[in-house]
């Protein structure tokens, strides 16, 4: 579903992701690394919101550099960036409806999809409340709902559980496990609890380079996240 070869991403003169080779199929994949490792930059490129300067990238068997194929990828994509914002005067329903409209969803199926996505993040009772009246954790859940509304084949989440209470985090982890059968989920996080409870594999980035990719058992055998990072510091 996601295939990258020698993928390089730069911000001005700084190399954010350096010659990354990566193959990810269906399942939940944790994207780990210290601050500034290149996780968010990589997610932006996978979300087709930014381009890579070098290398080859295939998403859902399509080439994101070709406009028509990029459009097809975007129709099958859900993306929650690290900083998520919405119009404060919109209700939860309107926030997710707007996302559905931007995702080219047909008008007749959108209302049902919106209600389903809102239900999946546990905000049904607040569906007609304004975004600005929600707590930080609830606003984050609106972000997750907008990513889920089109039933994406590829779901990219940048620190989605920030601000979520333990019960909601558990609900979210169950949701991801449910999605794992038919969706490629990339979950950038600093929370090992999220990784342990719902991820099939882990990719660790350090200074823009991939320093580990394997199952959680392999990560444990390598001494765990901290040991992998310490070896490359």
């Amino acid at each position: 579903m996601i295939s990258a070869a020698r993928l390089t991403v730069r911000h001005r003169r700084m190399t954010a992701v350096d010659s990354l080779d990566l193959e990810l199929g269906d399942g939940v994949h944790a994207l780990l690394g210290p601050n500034g490792a290149g996780k968010s930059s990589l997610l932006r490129v996978l979300a087709t919101a930014a381009g890579a300067v070098e290398g080859r990238l295939t998403l859902l068997e399509r080439d994101p550099r070709r406009p028509a194929e990029r459009l097809e990828i975007r129709r099958r994509l859900g993306y929650l960036p690290q900083t998520f914002g919405m119009f404060g005067g919109f209700t939860v329903r309107e926030c997710v409806t707007y996302a559905a409209w931007l995702k080219d969803m047909p008008g007749r199926t959108a209302p049902e999809a919106v209600e389903r996505a809102v239900r999946e993040v546990g905000l049904t009772r607040r569906i007609d409340d304004k975004y600005r009246t929600l707590s930080g954790g609830m606003q984050r859940r609106v972000g997750i709902a907008q990513a889920l509304v089109n039933r994406p084949r590829m779901l990219l989440l940048d620190e989605p559980t920030t601000g979520l209470d333990p019960a909601e985090r558990e609900r979210f982890q169950t949701l991801l496990r449910h999605l794992a059968d038919s969706t490629t989920v990339v979950l950038a996080t600093h929370l090992m609890e999220d990784v342990r409870s719902c991820c099939d594999s882990a990719v660790i980035l350090h200074s823009g380079r991939k320093v580990f990719h394997g199952s959680l058992e392999e990560l444990r055998a390598a001494g765990g996240y901290s040991a992998v990072i310490a070896r490359h510091d």
Partner: protein, 217 residues
């Protein structure tokens, strides 16, 4: 719990146009109303140079701020969505023009009375807006609007200088400026502005895919 809903709500995509926030609406309406009031008292000779000089620029600045990443809190996600590129930009441009052009036209008519000069800025305005969008595909709409506005002022200044040299007679700056603007916006010039708009529209279609990445915001 029952939730009271208004009888009529604008569609979400329309309410999401940053340029249609209340502060923008009030300030643009205020500027146009003030211009109309001042124009009706000052008379055509004093009002028209300002109208012809500034009216083509107001909508394009508004368009640019309606698409910039900072004005849209949802922009980081919009960049990864199928309708987040040129389609969204054109929708927002259409909404802004649909609101601002009648207002400016009303201000022009109030200030100058019914004359062709009250609407002479319309085609150049569309051309400059299209130029902003084309430039926006390279450098972002906000910077594109600044470059377009600067080019417009430079063009007027250059023709102003040229006409002063050729004419030799001493006019008041207002009269000289009006003469220059009228020469830039008269019937023949309108054809050139229209042709330029056509070329820019074609260029915009060629550049449509560039609105899918970060540079165009």
């Amino acid at each position: 719990m029952t939730v009271s809903r208004p009888l009529f709500r604008l569609p979400t995509w329309l309410r999401a146009v940053p340029g249609l926030r209340w502060p923008w609406l009030l300030s643009v309406t205020g500027v146009c109303a003030t211009a109309a009031a001042v124009g009706s008292r000052a008379g055509e000779e004093r009002f028209l140079p300002f109208l012809l000089l500034l009216a083509p620029l107001l909508p394009l600045l508004w368009v640019a701020t309606s698409y910039g990443g900072k004005a849209d809190p949802f922009a980081p996600v919009v960049r990864s969505m199928p309708s987040g590129g040129l389609r969204l930009l054109l929708l927002r441009t259409g909404v802004v023009l649909a609101y601002s052009l009648p207002l400016l036209l009303g201000a022009g008519l109030a200030g100058t009375g019914v004359s062709m000069w009250a609407a002479a800025w319309l085609v150049p305005c569309l051309t400059l807006t299209l130029a902003t969008l084309v430039l926006g595909s390279y450098m972002g709409c906000l910077l594109g609007s600044v470059v377009t506005g600067t080019c417009w002022f430079l063009l007027v200044a250059a023709v102003f200088q040229l006409s002063m040299r050729q004419d030799g007679r001493i006019h008041s700056p207002g009269t000289a400026l009006l003469k220059v603007l009228k020469s830039l916006l008269d019937g023949g010039a309108q054809m050139v502005w229209g042709a330029a708009a056509g070329v820019l529209a074609a260029l915009l279609m060629l550049r449509r895919h560039s609105f899918n990445d970060l540079r165009s915001r």
